[in-house]
C-alpha cells in the first residue's frame, strides 16, 4: 500500500471510531422527555400522573409504568420539572393492582404538607396493605422524606384497565392527591418502593430498575 492509501485508511478508521464513540455516548445519555408542572390559575403547580399495570407499547411493553400528563397529553416519562420554593400538587390515578408490602412501614403517608394523602376524596394518614388490592405503588422522594402509598385496585374490579396505556378515567382506578413543598433547586431522585417488577426476582428488576418506568428525577429549578 502506498503511503497516502495508508494515511487514508487510518483517517477513515479514525472517523469511524469517533462516530461509533459518539453514537454510543448519545445513546447512553438519553433521558426520557421532561414534563413540566402545569401552573393552575391560583398559581399552584400541578402534576398529574397515572400508573398502569403494563405499558403496552415501546421496547418494554409488559413493564408497569408511570405516565405523566403534559399539555393534556399523556407522555411516558418520569422526569418532572417544578419550580423551587413552592407547593406542588400531585394527582395520581392508580390503575394497577397491588399486594401486601415488603416493608409495611410504607403504609403510612409522610412528607406531604399535611402528612396526609387524599384517597378517592378521603384524607388518610395510613393505608392497609393487607386489604383487598393491597398497595400498588408508592410515590417517594427519599431525600425530601416524601412517601405516599397508592392502594391497588381491588382484585375483583369489574372494569380493570387493559393495555395499551394511557388508561381512560372510565376504568377502575384509585385517585390519590397530595401536596408537597419543594425547597431549593436541585435534582432529586424519586421512586416507587413497591417491588412491582413482575417476573423478576424479588420484584425489583425491570421497570423498578429502568429510568422512565418506576423511578425518575424531580428537577427543581429556580
Amino acid at each position: 500500500m502506498s503511503k497516502s492509501a495508508k494515511l487514508a485508511a487510518v483517517l477513515v478508521a479514525f472517523v469511524l471510531a469517533v462516530a461509533a464513540i459518539a453514537s454510543v455516548w448519545l445513546y447512553l445519555i438519553k433521558y426520557p422527555q421532561t414534563a413540566q408542572a402545569a401552573t393552575s390559575s391560583s398559581g399552584e403547580q400541578q402534576i398529574t400522573m397515572q400508573t398502569v399495570g403494563a405499558l403496552g407499547y415501546g421496547p418494554h411493553s409488559t413493564y408497569v409504568s408511570y405516565l405523566v400528563e403534559q399539555n393534556g397529553k399523556w407522555i411516558h416519562s418520569t422526569m418532572l420539572q417544578v419550580k423551587a420554593n413552592s407547593d406542588v400538587h400531585f394527582t395520581i390515578y392508580q390503575y394497577d393492582s397491588g399486594s401486601p408490602l415488603r416493608n409495611p412501614f410504607m403504609d403510612q403517608v409522610s412528607g406531604t404538607t399535611d402528612g396526609k394523602e387524599i384517597l378517592n376524596g378521603q384524607p388518610v394518614r395510613i393505608v392497609n396493605d393487607y386489604s383487598d388490592g393491597g398497595v400498588g405503588h408508592t410515590f417517594a422522594i427519599p431525600s425530601m422524606g416524601v412517601s405516599v402509598p397508592m392502594p391497588g385496585i381491588s382484585s375483583n374490579a369489574k372494569n380493570p384497565c387493559g393495555t395499551p396505556a394511557p388508561c381512560a378515567l372510565s376504568y377502575d382506578h384509585n385517585t390519590v392527591q397530595f401536596t408537597i413543598h419543594v425547597g431549593a433547586a436541585g435534582t432529586y431522585p424519586w421512586q416507587c418502593f413497591v417491588p412491582c417488577g413482575l417476573g423478576y426476582l424479588i420484584g425489583n428488576g425491570g421497570p423498578m430498575s429502568t429510568l422512565g418506568y418506576m423511578g425518575g428525577f424531580l428537577k427543581v429549578v429556580a
Partner: protein
C-alpha cells in the same frame, strides 16, 4: 487493524513453498475466514434466539417480565460457536472424529513473510497470535478506557447528572468488567504467546490450536459484553453480586456470558502455556535458567487454569438462576447470597494476581538487560512469584471482612493477606539488588519499569490498609479500594505492558516506536496517572462509596481534579496511539538490528523477522539469560553442541557485598 509489518525475507521464499501447496489443495469451504465467522455468528444467534423462544416463551416469569433470558443466552452461546466454526476452529475436532490427524504443519498458513490477511485468520503460528493479541488487547483497553472517561464525566458534579443512573451503572460495569476480564491476558496474550517459545528455545507451542482458540474467543466475549448496553445494561459492576445479578435485566446475561467466555479463554490460553513451559524447554534450559518473565507467565497461567474454572462455574450458576430459576443465590428458597461471593472471590483474588504477576515478570526481565547486571536473587524471585501464586488462593475472604460471613476467621485471613506482602516485597528486593551499581540506561522501557516500581509501591502498601480489619472498616467499598487496585493494576500491569511494547515491539514487527514520543507518553501518563488516582484515596477515606452517581458536595473539588486528570491520561494515550500508528504503519523506520537492546535473551537470538519455526534447529542452552559481566559465552547455540563445550561454559558466580 492488524499491520503487515514483517518485511519480506530476502532468501528462501521457495523453501517453504511445498508446504503451502498442500495447503492450497484443500477444498475452499474448509478454510475459515472472518466473513464466514460473521455469518456463523449471525446464524448461531438467530437459531439460538429462536430456540430459546420456542423453549420458554410460555413460562410465567417470561410472560410477566417480557424478557426471555433463554433466548438471549442461547443466542449468545450459539453465536460464539458459529463464530468459531466460521473461523475454521471446529474443523480439527471434526476431522478427529473420522480418525484424521492433521499435523500442525499441514493446515497452517504460517510462514516467515506473513501477509496482512494472516493476521485475520485462525492460525497456529504463535507469532501471529501474539500480534493478534497485542492489537486486540490495545483495542479492548482503549474501549474500556473510554468508559472510564464517561464515569469521570458523570462524577464532575455531585448532583447534576449527565448520565442517567442506569446508564451510569452500565458504564461502570462495562469499564470494570472489560478491564478485569480482558486485561488478564494483556501481557500473557501478546508477549506470553509470542515470546515464551522463543525464550525457552521451543520451535512450537504444545497446543497451538488452543492458543489460537484462546484469542478468537476474546472478540466474541468483547462483543457480547458490549451488547449488554443495548439489551438493557447491567447494574452489578464487575463483581456481579447475586441476588442483584439475578433480578437484573437482560444486560446481565451479556455480562455473565462474556465473563464465562473470557474465563474459558483464560483456561485454554493458560493451559497451553503451562504445558509448553513444562515440556518444550530446549536442552540445557534448566528450571534455574528459565527467564524470569517465563516464570511469571507460568505462575500466571497456572492461576488462570486453576482459578478461572471456578469463575466459569459461578457464571454458569448465575445464568441458571436467571434462566431455569434455580435458587442457588436466592435465600428465600434455600440458596445463599454468600455463595456467589465465595465462588466469585475464590476466582477473583487469584485473578488480581493474574493481573499483577506479569507486571513483575516484565519488570524483573528488563532490569538486568538495561542495568547490565545479572538478576539479583533469581531463586528468591522465583520463590516469590510461586509464593504469591499459592497464597492468592487463601485470601479471598478479605473481600468479605464486613459481610458477616465467618467473622471469626478474620484474623486468619488478615494474616494470609498480609503475608502476601512478603513474596510481593521480594520483587522489590530483587529490583533493589539488581539496580545496585547497575549501568542503568534510562530508555523508554526502563522509564515504565521505574514508574511501575513507584506506582505499585503505593498500590501494595495501600493494600495493607485493606487487609487490616479496623482500617478496612473505613476503606472497604470506597474509592480507596478503587484507587488501590488501579495503582496495582494500571500502575503495575499497564505500565509494564507499555514498557513491554516499547521493548519487544521491534522484535515482533521489526519496527521501533518513536522514542521521543515514547518519553512524552511516559511522563504524561506517569504524572496524570498519579494526579488521577492519588486524590481518590482521600476521596474514599472521606466517605465516597464506589459506583455512586451522587456524592457529598464537599468532595466535588477533588472529584473535578480527578476527572480533569483523567482526561489528560486520555491525551497521553492518544500520544501513544499516534506513535503506534505512525511508527508501524505510516512512517516505518528501516529495519533495526536483531539485538536492539544488547540483551542476552534467547528471544533476541532469532532472526528478524522470526521464521516460521523460530529456530532452524532446537537450540542448546549453555548458560542463564542474565549472565552480564560474568564472562559467560552466549546463552545458547542453535542445534547440538559437544557435551564438553556445554559444561565448560559455566559462568563465574560472584557473591558480592561485604
Amino acid at each position: 487493524m492488524a499491520i503487515d509489518t514483517t518485511p519480506a525475507p530476502s532468501v528462501d521464499e521457495s523453501g517453504s513453498a511445498p508446504l503451502h501447496n498442500t495447503h492450497d489443495t484443500k477444498p475452499w469451504y474448509t478454510e475459515g475466514n472472518l466473513v464466514y465467522a460473521l455469518i456463523g455468528a449471525v446464524l448461531g444467534y438467530t437459531i439460538g434466539h429462536w430456540f430459546g423462544n420456542w423453549l420458554a416463551s410460555g413460562y410465567q416469569q417470561i410472560q410477566g417480565s417480557g424478557q426471555n433470558d433463554y433466548a438471549l443466552v442461547l443466542g449468545y452461546l450459539l453465536a460464539t460457536i458459529g463464530w468459531l466454526a466460521g473461523l475454521g476452529i471446529l474443523n480439527y475436532p471434526l476431522m478427529k472424529m473420522v480418525g484424521l490427524h492433521p499435523s500442525p504443519d499441514e493446515d497452517d498458513g504460517a510462514k516467515a513473510h506473513r501477509p496482512l490477511r494472516a493476521y485475520f485468520t485462525y492460525t497456529l503460528d504463535h507469532k501471529v497470535v501474539g500480534v493478534q493479541y497485542l492489537v486486540g488487547m490495545l483495542f479492548y483497553f482503549f474501549t474500556a478506557g473510554l468508559f472510564a472517561l464517561a464515569i469521570r464525566t458523570e462524577l464532575l458534579s455531585p448532583t447534576r447528572h449527565i448520565l442517567p443512573p442506569g446508564s451510569y451503572l452500565t458504564v461502570v460495569g462495562e469499564h470494570g468488567t472489560m478491564m478485569m476480564m480482558m486485561m488478564t491476558s494483556v501481557i500473557l496474550g501478546p508477549f506470553g504467546n509470542y515470546f515464551i517459545p522463543l525464550m525457552i528455545g521451543a520451535r512450537r507451542m504444545a497446543f497451538p490450536r488452543l492458543e489460537a482458540l484462546s484469542f478468537w474467543i476474546t472478540p466474541a466475549a468483547f462483543i457480547v459484553l458490549l451488547s449488554g448496553i443495548i439489551v438493557g445494561g447491567f447494574p452489578t459492576g464487575w463483581t456481579g453480586y447475586a441476588p442483584l445479578a439475578v433480578e437484573a435485566t437482560q444486560g446481565q446475561d451479556a455480562y455473565l456470558v462474556a465473563f464465562g467466555l473470557m474465563g474459558t479463554s483464560m483456561i485454554v490460553g493458560g493451559f497451553n502455556i503451562v504445558v509448553t513451559v513444562i515440556n518444550y524447554r530446549a536442552p540445557g534450559m534448566t528450571w534455574t535458567r528459565v527467564p524470569i518473565f517465563t516464570w511469571a507467565m507460568l505462575v500466571t497461567a497456572m492461576l488462570m487454569v486453576l482459578a478461572a474454572p471456578v469463575l466459569v462455574a459461578g457464571t454458569y450458576m448465575s445464568l441458571l438462576d436467571r434462566t431455569v430459576q434455580t435458587a442457588l443465590f436466592d435465600v428465600n428458597h434455600g440458596g445463599s447470597s454468600y455463595l456467589w461471593q465465595n465462588l466469585y472471590w475464590f476466582f477473583g483474588h487469584p485473578e488480581v494476581y493474574i493481573l499483577a504477576l506479569p507486571g513483575f515478570g516484565i519488570a524483573l526481565e528488563l532490569l538486568p538487560v538495561f542495568g547490565r547486571k545479572p538478576l539479583f536473587g533469581y531463586r528468591t524471585a522465583v520463590a516469590g512469584m510461586v509464593g504469591v501464586g499459592m497464597l492468592s488462593f487463601f485470601v479471598w475472604q478479605h473481600h468479605l471482612f464486613v459481610s458477616g460471613m465467618n467473622p471469626d476467621m478474620r484474623p486468619v485471613v488478615m494474616l494470609t493477606t498480609e503475608m502476601i506482602s512478603i513474596p510481593t516485597g521480594i520483587v522489590y528486593l530483587v529490583a533493589v539488588g539488581t539496580l545496585w551499581r547497575a549501568k542503568l540506561r534510562i530508555t523508554v522501557p526502563v522509564l515504565f519499569i521505574l514508574g511501575m516500581l513507584f506506582n505499585f509501591l503505593i498500590g501494595g502498601i495501600s493494600g495493607v490498609f485493606l487487609s487490616d480489619v479496623p482500617t478496612d472498616a473505613v476503606a472497604h467499598g470506597t474509592f480507596f479500594v478503587m484507587a488501590h487496585f488501579h495503582y496495582t493494576i494500571m500502575g503495575g500491569l499497564i505500565f509494564t505492558f507499555f514498557g513491554g511494547i516499547y521493548y519487544w515491539l521491534p522484535k515482533m514487527t521489526g519496527r521501533q516506536l518513536d522514542q521521543r514520543l515514547g518519553r512524552i507518553h511516559f511522563w504524561t501518563l506517569f504524572i496524570f496517572f498519579n494526579s488521577t488516582f492519588l486524590p481518590l484515596f482521600a476521596v474514599g477515606e472521606l466517605g465516597m462509596p464506589r459506583r455512586v452517581f451522587e456524592y457529598e458536595k464537599t468532595l466535588q473539588g477533588l472529584n473535578m481534579w480527578v476527572s480533569i486528570s483523567a482526561y489528560f491520561i486520555a491525551l497521553s494515550m492518544l500520544i501513544f496511539i499516534y506513535n503506534f500508528i505512525k511508527s508501524t504503519i505510516l512512517d516505518p523506520k528501516p529495519i533495526i538490528p536483531d539485538d536492539l537492546w544488547g540483551s542476552r535473551g534467547l528471544e533476541w537470538m532469532t532472526e528478524n523477522p522470526v521464521p516460521e519455526n523460530n529456530f532452524a534447529h532446537v537450540p542448546t542452552v549453555l548458560s542463564g539469560p542474565y549472565e552480564y559481566g560474568t564472562g559467560a559465552g552466549p546463552m545458547a547455540v542453535i542445534g547440538a553442541v559437544p557435551v564438553e563445550a556445554a559444561t565448560s561454559n559455566e559462568p563465574v558466580t560472584h557473591e558480592g557485598g561485604s
